[in-house]
Symmetry: D2
Subunit: 316 residues, 4 copies
């Protein structure tokens, strides 16, 4: 099912942008963990501050519904809710029967034969709020293992006037012991790549030396050993054969610019008729600033899932 | 489990490089499909021809064990076997207690506490033979839907003397109707990215305009409509909101160079002792040529899986 | 994960008896289905009327959070909430440090090392309210396929004074076409059995002639054909080789009596100390009447899941 | 997918009765386990001795293909093969176009639109050989945890002349610590029930006091504590709230008699035409004797899976 991610630490996400609420259910969070609600609030605030120009004024409040008792996790599902408060749909009425260029409107309609056309519906970037909340819970799991994540904006072109810009976000994960990840199809890089590509507007990912590695010779590329099992370089991004090698995990994700811009835009109707209009209302000219914490959240969920899966291995 | 990929069309892969056999079980291939064994042979041959210098002389033979009756698939698991014939392990004896730089040896040992040190064991590139065979079966499923895949080597630096080289492989998938892919976590780009990163030596992937899109403005990037629902450009690589939009699916995967090269190599022992040796035997100075068909195979499995999942949707 | 059931039609359930709320997320319900909230209300009411003596006065209200737009399902997750209103925990204070006989208290504590001791927490029968709501959605899917379910109480001994009683519930499913179910491990009877055994107090299940079939000869047992592909008897309960054969699906589930009774009860403390007390408050002396609709709900989810999985097969 | 069972210890089974081979792939068996091939041979022999009258003379040989190196498991998939040697299909030619009463022929044909009509194909009881081999590996995992299984035939009516008989098999599992099993949908009894119902001819299952418990009062039924955390009775069969309580796990599975008997048998053709014939060849008049080891194998896989899943919990 496409609205769940993870095996042992598993988030099921729900909600449309302009419906009653968004939220999630985390199944598999270990029992007995001190639950740090402030960490959720802090990351929700980070996401909010990254938002340049939206109609939503305050960081979303995350209401906890289950899974925590007397400040500790129960091992039962942790469900949470984020109410949608400011959900005027008038702005979108004109777009009800039109597919915008670059948007998921058309592909979504072909997929389901129906869509909530208000503000992107389920395809809205608002859905990442759920990821940030769940990612904060994943960070609680990782903290007690000494694993920390840090994402930063490494390329963020200035949006041109009446235009928009994308960017590149780097993420570094420290404290991952050697031996995390599965061989063959469940490689650590496979899971991170899938998680990153699931973020709206993501269009590429590279680990360590990345695309540049394709142009290096083997003697330049390979990370030579030091006698403490660290390596002199980290071209592989901390992953070998799909398994962590004890060096920091390092990757970069590219995001394309927002496609809604205050310029004449040619939309297509269901009958193939082309209509040009200029989008009204406030739209972000860039989204990468608020995506930094989303990158961390997705990476945290992948790592928490693997760390929990592997707690019992190997048998030695 | 990390040795399976897919939900409806699901491959479970097994086998070590120097054990009795490698093979796979495909569960979920539809019943009643004409089984084209020649397609498997052709792709196994393509993989073989891409191999520059190995000790294995002929393309591997794929022995079918189940799931096909009177030339048609039964809807039951299709199991197949590839025997390992030339499995001298002497060459590897010296490496038994040493971890090579850039290899999965050390990470694997930390993961499992034990490993088959002969020729890479389960981490060997030989395991991709199983993927090619299963990918050919996926292509049989896709053929009847009019979906075709074509991968090509777009960057392949010449290996320097006594050194190795990586490269970049592009893949284009034609005939995918709009509406294939799942929203949120099961996005088409997420699944393709995970599949590509699972190929040995893969280190980056980008769709459509890729990393370059991070530097484009929204007005440059967005793919404007034509009145037949195609778009004037394909910067998004045929995927919007994680769902195909009817344009060709386009992506590029970067591979780092092989890390075993005929030069002095400093390995580390389990006790942290560094030892320098020069690898003997024949090793490929490049692997990208034979990886082209592996890229196709992995993409074919992802597409076959999604197409089968979605045959019944939408309800309109 | 143990709080989810189903593959294509998948419920994830959450909530503790005395926490803020219980609820569920249904992923995989087809898009474009007319959503009949009255069917949910009706089944919630049936569950409520089967409750003899509880402190909860009215049938629970099911609040819809996502997945439905303008009266139709969107194909996105359908999330719903049932608030806990009357959640006094004083009654349970005495049981905080004691394990009752026949209850899940002790096993649960061993499993998680922590538990919400108020009213059974997650192990409470109250959790079945979530199943009933989700089962009603599954019935919406089945209705349009012409599949109907009918469960009835076939054995319901009268509880003795100050004691409790269990019973047997039969369920019949009509309209299931031949060919539903998976061979080997995903048999229709396997999935129904798992679903039934997941209902609190379930202790046995039998299909068709059931345990009596073990004492029949082959000539008595086998269901002989009529020339319209129906059979003269239905000893197999409508399932052969794990697959429906077009006859009604028939099975019976046995439930043991409630273990909390208003009689002196010897509990055990974490230190092994035995303490005798007499449970206070109102407890049901029987739960089978309200379990009838839960049996239907679980069976409906199993069938909806399989019907959706198989919509695309076979290829003929 | 219906040909796999388990999450952490996962068997994928393949093969038709009269195809080249049957076999399985076990993914998730821990690394470093001493591999006891003699245990596989012993259980295959037990299955063989339970076979009264078949054309296969010797116990099947299990050929290991991967996952074991120098006598120990590698943590990689353990694949194995059982060749079909005596596969004359002439006996079945007459049945090619006919559906026998009580058999899966018709339901299977409706499910897939095609079937291997030779000897039951994939629906053959021969498939249980794969389960027995995999179950023996699961027993290796359980042995080191001190968990043992013992199944016995508790009811086995004598087959009448030219007729067949079913029976009831009891199974007892000792050494399971309290706390094994998942709440809600992944209950230990749910998983065992699903596994048992997946065995050909299984028609009912009951735990502990079983169907009789439906007629007991709560005061009779509930298992009272002793001060060592054992209970005075074991009416619940060692499972409370879906989780083991430290007492032996006890359940009974009912099997209906074989439906192929040497008596006139009315089959139906695809056109609805009824034809009476008398089955030729040797068929078992009872199968419960050889099913005893299959019951153990399936239970062993369920327990191994849960024990491995839960090795890391709880967090205390």
């Amino acid at each position: 099912m496409s609205n769940s991610i993870g095996t042992c630490f598993r988030l099921t996400s729900f909600g449309e942008s302009h419906g009653p609420a968004l939220g999630g259910v985390i199944d598999g969070c270990p029992a007995g963990l001190a639950f740090d609600h402030a960490l959720i609030d802090r990351d929700m605030q980070r996401r909010h501050l990254g938002t340049h120009a939206t109609t939503r004024r305050e960081a979303d409040k995350v209401e906890l519904l289950s899974g925590v008792f007397e400040g500790k996790t129960l091992g039962t599902p942790i469900a949470f809710l984020i109410r949608n408060s400011d959900t005027r749909s008038d702005d979108y009425e004109a777009l009800k029967a039109l597919y915008r260029p670059g948007h998921a409107d058309y592909a979504w309609q072909q997929r389901y034969g129906i869509r909530d056309w208000r503000g992107g519906g389920r395809a809205s970037g608002r859905e990442t709020a759920v990821r940030v909340a769940a990612g904060a819970v994943a960070k609680m799991v990782l903290q007690q293992k000494g694993i920390t994540l840090h994402a930063t904006l490494v390329e963020a072109p200035q949006p041109a006037e009446n235009d928009s810009a994308g960017g590149i976000i780097a993420c570094r994960i420290d404290g991952v012991p050697a031996g995390i990840g599965e061989p063959v199809f469940g490689k650590l890089n496979s899971l991170i790549a899938a998680a990153m590509m699931s973020i709206p507007s993501a269009i590429g990912i590279e680990f360590g030396a990345g695309f540049e590695a394709a142009r290096m010779s083997g003697s330049e590329y390979r990370d030579n050993w030091r006698d403490d099992f660290t390596t002199q370089t980290n071209h592989c991004g901390g992953i070998q054969g799909g398994i962590s090698n004890g060096m920091p995990i390092e990757f970069r994700t590219a995001f394309h610019p927002p496609v809604t811009i205050p310029q004449p835009t040619t939309c297509i109707g269901a009958d193939g008729h082309l209509t040009t209009l200029t989008p009204q209302g406030r739209h972000d000219s860039s989204h990468v600033a608020r995506t930094v914490v989303v990158v961390e959240a997705m990476a945290a969920m992948v790592l928490a899932d693997l760390v929990l899966q592997q707690q019992h291995s190997p048998l030695h």
